[in-house]
Amino acid sequence: MLSTGDDITVNHPEEHDSESDDDPSGSSAVVLGLDGLAALIAALWDRGYRVVGPTVRDSAIVLDELLTADSLPIGWGDEQAPGHYRLRRREDQARFGYVVGPQSPRQELSPQKVALVKIRRTADGFDADAVDPTPAAPIAFIGLRGCELAAMGIHDRVMIGGAHPDPVQSARGADRFVVGVDCGDPAATCFCTSMGTGPTAGAEMGPDNTETADLRLCELIDDDRHDFLCHVTSKAGAEVMETLEHRPANTADHLAAQEVRHRAVQCIEKHLDTDGLADRLMAVPDHPRWDEVAERCLSCTNCTLVCPTCFCSTIDDVGDLAGEMTTRTRVWDSCFTLDHSYLHGGAVHATTRSQYHQWLTHKLSTWWDQFGESGCVGCGRCTTWCPAGIDLVEEATALSRAPEINR
């Protein structure tokens, strides 16, 4: 390995062009060892980021502050099915050998509860002070997958892309740094290939998907090696890489990465036929399948609260006992609560059937009308974390067929 300061360049894709046919981005690729990964996390802290990444807690892989690379889920994988998630021990010491957990960047960029305004009673009225949403440090995300990058892009467009950018998400997302990771071992609930968001972290994204990683890792493990092919895809990424030990990638490295990708694509068994899906779903409000799924659905909200693209929130004004101070707080909400659609006199979506219809059609149909793209990135979280094991792909597929065929 070359050491820091050696005269290698990380910003000249031409050097590797002939070898990097999996690399249409024109970025440069290097190889980072396990020590290099640890150094990357340390370097990000040193540069003033708050580093957030995967770690094992409460029987799952969650996102949390990552003080060092030792907190990564070393040797852990996950097993997922509708309504089912288990950690499993891998035979190797993979750092990113799992897929996605119950959490997503959403909780960092638009946290569950955010205080917006503090209102204080005064002698002649009241004073209102907006709460500054600027975090103490910009966030560096480690280990985000293709579907998560796509979801961040969607959230950015919805929350800050319009005429009234959300100050919370703008402030928290500003100057973020993203280390993406290609998926090597997708779960049974993943269908990113149908949605064009994975399994590699960014490669398949369409022109609308502006979110890219600053560095994109592919973990390479066999009997002889355990390191990472790393595409350097931004200036910030190149600046950090310059401070780390690495070497240029060679043909063997690129081939190994291609193999990881090939295996991952082969692994993905779930497919959603998206052709005309938005219209097909909207065309069947009376399909009996809605009644069937409503019998199983518990309106528990889990599908929406684990979804990386759902954005609904409610506003709570909570006053203190003395009536002197009120805090206006934004709290995650879901179309599976009655308050979500409460208008004068009652809820629009008052039954579970109507709530489920709202959720599924918003993700797959009306999101297109609103934002010109799909509201689903195919991460499978809603399916895994549904306590009733309701499978989005299965429901959408059944609903977009004539009722007789389902019987």
Binding site: R57, D58, S59, A60, V62, G83, H84, Y85, R86, L87, G101, P102, Q103, Q107, Q112, K113, I119, R121, F126, E295, R296, C297, L298, S299, C300, T301, N302, L305, V306, D316, D317, V318, G319, D320, L321, A322, G323, V331, W332, S334, F336, T337, L338, D339, T351, T352, Q355, T384, W385, C386, P387, A388, G389
Partner: protein
């Protein structure tokens, strides 16, 4: 925003706490508000609260807010709750007994005479009703605060809301929302632990799931509870019919969503444990 009503600013609202058939745990929650108790006492006049030694006018006055604990189980209760209602501008029930009939409503499923002979040496001195029922079965209730016991912060919110003339910010959705707001990992999905959270009214802050236990349903059914649906999931995670029935029939057994569980045609499976 209009300032709180001027009467409130000048004169502290009078609050009474009443007990019917209950264990006192919910009233004690008010005394447990150690840090906030002084503010409560400054903000409201605890005009009648026997548990705290506030005999005041002996419960013979008029009150801006009555907090009612306990279910209706005796002929005397029937009259007393009417009297309480007449004395109260706002009446809020606190806890599962007052809001749903409590654990003691288990007797509603059998003949109360059977218990009397077993429990009391001289049952002829006992005067009781056939059923233990919620306060709302007898008088109009302004708000039902759920829980067995209630949550301290929700109680403070109810007092703050009613004494400031605004609706309480107490949502009726499931415990799962609270799990997700806390960043908990779902114990059902990740560990196979049976959990009533998906059909249980929020309020506890997902206390049990936070400690890796399934929810026991202390706060009763949530706003759109699918009880039959959650039973399927409890079964999938290893509970048998008998255990599921026991899980449904605890503190909120007489709530309308739970009292008919299992639905009339029981599934013909399994032996008794």
């Amino acid at each position: 925003m209009t300032p709180a009503s001027t009467e409130l600013a000048q004169e502290r609202p009078r609050v009474a706490v009443w007990k019917f058939s209950s264990c006192d745990g919910c009233q004690l929650t008010l005394l447990d508000c150690e840090d906030e108790l002084l503010t409560v006492a400054e903000r409201v006049e605890l005009a009648y609260f026997l548990e705290a030694g506030a005999v005041g006018d002996g419960g013979k006055g008029l009150y801006d807010l009555s907090l009612v604990e306990g279910s209706i189980t005796t002929p005397g209760d029937l009259d007393r709750i009417q009297d309480v209602r007449r004395r109260s501008t706002r009446l809020v029930t606190i806890g599962a007994c007052a809001s749903a009939g409590g654990i003691q409503a288990l007797r509603n499923f059998t003949e109360v005479e059977q218990f009397l002979g077993i429990v009391y040496a001289q049952p002829q001195f006992i005067s009781t009703l056939e059923e233990s029922t919620a306060i709302s079965d007898h008088v109009e209730v302004d708000f039902e605060l759920r829980g067995c016991p209630i949550d301290k912060n929700q109680l403070l919110e109810v007092i703050a809301a009613f004494t400031n003339g605004r609706p309480p910010a107490i949502p009726g959705h499931s415990v799962c929302v609270e799990c997700k707001l806390r960043g908990n990992v779902c114990v059902t999905v990740a560990q196979g632990v049976p959990c009533l959270g998906p059909v249980t009214h929020a309020g506890c802050g997902a206390l049990c799931p936070t400690y890796h236990r399934g929810c026991y349903g202390c706060f009763g059914p949530s706003e759109t509870a699918n009880v039959a649906g959650v039973a399927v999931e409890l079964r999938r995670h290893g509970m048998d019919e008998h255990e599921i029935e026991l899980a449904m029939h605890t503190f909120n057994t007489w709530s309308p969503e739970l009292r008919d569980y299992p639905p009339s045609a029981p599934t013909p499976t399994g032996e008794q444990p």
